[in-house]
Structures are given as structure tokens and as C-alpha cells.
């Protein structure tokens, strides 16, 4: 018995409770994604003087679960013309990207409990940002595959649009991050957060980079001003036109998980991550400071998520040529300019 207990303990405590951290983050993500759908519907309703879902559960709080169960019980339709393997693979890629990216986002500073140093991040790797960029590029495949394998013109057009859009905006996204990395001198998300102590938030130091990154994040997550891959009036549903049941749910979930990742990424890179300015000068106990910092992280993410939804219900969709113009002729030069701006700041102030 003792041997089994020891093995179990060894598994659980492996790499500072890695398994437990993964489970916590995964559950948090799934719940947030589920409730994002709920809040999307609520906020859209409020913006249109409606009430929104309020029947399932208290104030409709169980609505997203009802939706998920409905999708689970639906028939999974695969079109005759579809390339069946890739058709099934695409939503898996979308989910995979959505869930794995979160591994490098720090929720709070590390804590020490009973001799274990527990970092509040699943993988504190020193190529974190590179990892995020690499995975979001893989995310393009999900949508492109989905569009191509469906054997439908609408899906194909959506997939093509999306690949062009995401590749164009990835460039300005990467260059915006360049400014952040110049300041933090590290690709480690933890180090980037720590470099933004006090009011040295990157959003204030490099507002242009912040705006270009924010806009690119909208484009990367296919959210409304840039949701051309699934533009309903033109493309029916875009790349997920031919998807139903859980495959559709996977795309749906991935979209909201991507939104969450974009928000956490923006908070980490530009809004000081879990840092609350000058909280150490208040003389609070370390436990309280930690709790406040973690709460601060979630509040920042929550505000950004609200912003994502709010923008969706306020701003109309771009035309495709406008989207490309904005991406290549405005966002790209601006993000380049941002790098120069940061370099000059570093030269002058020796930041």
C-alpha cells in the first residue's frame, strides 16, 4: 500500500504539482469559455435593449450547458464531398491550439507551500512568447483545413479569407511583441510581467504597439470587426458552414478559448500581468498580496473580455480589401514604428 501511495504522490507532486495545475487551468478555461458564450449573449442583448437568456437556471446561468448538451445530442453530418479525415481533424486542431497556448500564461507570482515552489503557470519556459506565436500560426491550419475539406464553396471562401487574414495580421502581431521583448529582454512571460513593475505597463510605454497588438488580436481570433472568415451575410457560416454537432461545438469553444487567450496575452504583455502597481508599499501580508495579484489578473482579463464582446456588438464588419489595406498599409508600418519608438526610449532613458 505504501508503495502505491508513494507512486501516487510522486505522480501528483511531479514537477511541482504539474498535473494539478494543468487540471485547474483546464477547468478554469472551459468554464470561462462556457460563460463567455453566456455573457456574449447577455451583452449583445443589453446593447440592443433586450434581456438575453434568462430561462435556464438562475438568470439563465445554465444556458451554456444547455447549449452544449443540445449540440452533443445532435446528428453529426459530414458532407458527401468532404475529405472526411481532414474534416474531422480541423476542429481538433482548433481545440488543441486553443487549449495548449494557455500553458505559458502566468496567473500570478510563484508561491511556496510546505517546501514546494509552485509557479502559477503550467510551463515557465523561456521561449514562451515564441511558443504562443507558433501555436497561433498552427491555428490558421484548423480554419483553412475546415474550409478546404468541407467541399463547399462557402467554407472554402471562408478558409481562404481566414488564412490570408491571419497570416497578414500575425506579422503586425509579431512586430508589436518585438517592442515588448526589447524592453523585457526576455521571451519568458514571467520575465515580461516582472519587467512591467509599478506603472511601467507596456500599454503606457508603447501605446501604438498596444493598439496594433489589440487590433491584431481581434483579427487573429476572428472577432467581429474582422470576422470575415465566417461573415454570415456573405458566407453563410464561413469555414464552419458544413460542421454540426460536437465538431461545430469544438470550433465554437475554440473561438471563445482563443478570445480568452488573446485577453490573457494582452494582459501579460501590455497590462502588467498579475502586477498591481505599488501594492508592495501598502505593507499587506504576502498571502493577501498574492491573492490580490491573482484577482487583479482575472479582473484585467475580465475587462478585456468584456471589451472584446462590447466591440463585437458596436462596430460593423470591414470589407475584405479594407481589412487587407489596414493590415498591410497601417498596422504593419505602425508596429514597425513602435519598435523604433521603443528602441529610442531605451537609448534615451536606458530602461
Amino acid at each position: 500500500m505504501e508503495a502505491i501511495g508513494n507512486i501516487l504522490w510522486a505522480i501528483i507532486s511531479f514537477y511541482n504539482f504539474l498535473l494539478i495545475r494543468i487540471v485547474i487551468v483546464l477547468v478554469m478555461m472551459l468554464m470561462t469559455a462556457a460563460y463567455l458564450v453566456y455573457f456574449e449573449r447577455k451583452i449583445s442583448a443589453w446593447a440592443q435593449n433586450r434581456l438575453g437568456p434568462n430561462r435556464v437556471g438562475w438568470y439563465g446561468l445554465l444556458q451554456s450547458f444547455a447549449d452544449v448538451f443540445k449540440l452533443l445530442f445532435k446528428e453529426d453530418i459530414v458532407p458527401d464531398n468532404a475529405n472526411k479525415k481532414i474534416h474531422a481533424l480541423a476542429p481538433m486542431i482548433a481545440l488543441f491550439v486553443a487549449f495548449t497556448t494557455y500553458a505559458v500564461i502566468p496567473i500570478g507570482p510563484g508561491i511556496t507551500i510546505a517546501g514546494f515552489d509552485i509557479p502559477m503557470v503550467i510551463a515557465d519556459v523561456n521561449i514562451g512568447i515564441l511558443y504562443v506565436l507558433a501555436l497561433t500560426s498552427v491555428g490558421v491550419y484548423a480554419i483553412t483545413f475546415a474550409g478546404w475539406s468541407s467541399g463547399s464553396k462557402y467554407s472554402l471562401l471562408g478558409g481562404i479569407r481566414s488564412s490570408a487574414q491571419m497570416i497578414s495580421y500575425e506579422i503586425s502581431m509579431g512586430f508589436s511583441i518585438g517592442g515588448v521583448i526589447l524592453l523585457s529582454e526576455s521571451l519568458r512571460p514571467m520575465a515580461i510581467v516582472e519587467s512591467q513593475s509599478g506603472w511601467m505597463w507596456n500599454a503606457f510605454i508603447q501605446p501604438i504597439g498596444f493598439i496594433t497588438f489589440l487590433v491584431s488580436a481581434f483579427a487573429e481570433t476572428n472577432r467581429l470587426p474582422f470576422d470575415l472568415p465566417e461573415a454570415e451575410p456573405e458566407l453563410v457560416g464561413g469555414y464552419h458552414t458544413e460542421y454540426s454537432s460536437m465538431k461545430f461545438a469544438a470550433f465554437f469553444l475554440a473561438e471563445y478559448a482563443n478570445m480568452l487567450i488573446a485577453s490573457t496575452l494582452i494582459v501579460t504583455l501590455y497590462l502588467g500581468g498579475w502586477q498591481i502597481p505599488y501594492i508592495e508599499t501598502l505593507g499587506l501580508s504576502s498571502g493577501l498580496v498574492l491573492a490580490l495579484q491573482v484577482a487583479g489578473f482575472f479582473v484585467k482579463v475580465g475587462v478585456l473580455l468584456f471589451f472584446f464582446i462590447w466591440v463585437r456588438w458596436s462596430i460593423p464588419r470591414f470589407r475584405y480589401d479594407q481589412l487587407m489595406n489596414l493590415g498591410w498599409k497601417v498596422m504593419f508600418p505602425l508596429s514597425l514604428f513602435n519598435i523604433i519608438w521603443v528602441a529610442i526610449l531605451i537609448m534615451i532613458f536606458k530602461l
Partner: protein, 169 residues
């Protein structure tokens, strides 16, 4: 037609620099939706809170029942004659009361009724009027044929419509 000599179309108004950089306009749009979020909602939560239409509303046609419990209808059959959807069926009978005729059978097939209100317009006795009842759901075709038991409604409940008819008809 001098199609070639039309001067190039001028825009009504070119975008100013402030409008071209989008951001002030985006902020304007965002503030509008944010303000809307806190405005009172228009939604009526239907099964709990029901919409009560005005007198001009044409709902389910009903027969007027006088205060003494008799129907006004004299079974002249005009409503049945005018009904464009052939929804009304009337069979007259005689009584010893002051009004010597009454409908022995008065049926409206609610699957056929188109709520045009011709029956009400043509009725010389103001005996058939459109009510405010809009909740018409049936589980089979037999239920949709309303007999006198369902059609007769006390006159006080129809006062709104009767007033409307007297004022505007």
C-alpha cells in the same frame, strides 16, 4: 443624352482626418452601445407578463353574450356569407323569446379564420366582434373548431372593442 459630359460625381462630404483614423469614431460607437446597455429593456417576458392589445386589435372572433346570459346573435348568416375563408358555420333555430331566432349551432374553424374582421363589420346586431385573445394553439384539428361554448363571451369583457367600433366604424 450627353453621357460623356457628366462631371465626375462629387462626394457629399469627404472624410476628415479625424474620421479617417477611425479611433474617435470607434470610441463614439462604443460609447453609444455602452449607454444603451444601461437603458431600460423593452422585452416583455411573455408567459408571465402578457401583452394587452388596444381596442383596435383584431384577435379571435367571439360572440357577444348579453348580461342576462343570452346571445345577441340572430343567426342571420351574414357573417357566414361574407367570410372569405369560409370559416363560419351557422344554423338558425326558433325560440319563444322576444328575439325569435337564435343560432342553434355556431362554429368558427380557427384553422381557416384569417382575422379579417369582415364578420364583425357585416353583423347588424353587433353580435360578433374581434376579441383581444391571441393565444390560439391547438393540438389537433377538432380542437380548432370553436363551438358556442368557446365563442360566447360576456359583453363587459368586450367593451373596449365595442367602444372602438362605435367610434371608428
Amino acid at each position: 443624352m450627353s453621357g460623356n459630359n457628366i462631371p465626375p460625381k462629387k462626394r457629399i462630404k469627404d472624410l476628415t482626418f479625424g474620421e479617417k483614423i477611425y479611433i474617435p469614431e470607434i470610441v463614439k460607437g462604443l460609447s453609444l452601445t455602452l449607454r444603451t446597455m444601461f437603458k431600460p429593456k423593452f422585452t416583455m417576458e411573455y408567459p408571465e407578463e402578457k401583452f394587452i392589445p388596444a381596442g383596435s386589435y383584431r384577435g379571435r372572433p367571439v360572440l357577444v353574450e348579453e348580461k342576462n346570459g343570452e346571445e345577441r346573435c340572430v343567426a342571420c348568416g351574414l357573417c357566414s356569407r361574407v367570410c372569405p375563408a369560409l370559416a363560419i358555420e351557422v344554423q338558425a333555430a326558433e325560440t319563444d323569446r322576444e328575439k325569435e331566432r337564435y343560432p342553434e349551432k355556431f362554429e368558427i374553424n380557427m384553422l381557416r379564420c384569417i382575422f379579417c374582421g369582415f364578420c364583425e363589420e357585416v353583423c347588424p346586431e353587433e353580435a360578433i366582434v374581434m376579441s383581444k385573445d391571441y393565444e390560439l394553439a391547438f393540438s389537433n384539428r377538432e380542437d380548432a373548431i370553436y363551438g358556442k361554448d368557446k365563442l360566447l363571451v360576456p359583453v363587459d369583457q368586450l367593451q373596449d372593442r365595442i367602444d372602438f367600433l362605435r367610434n371608428y366604424k
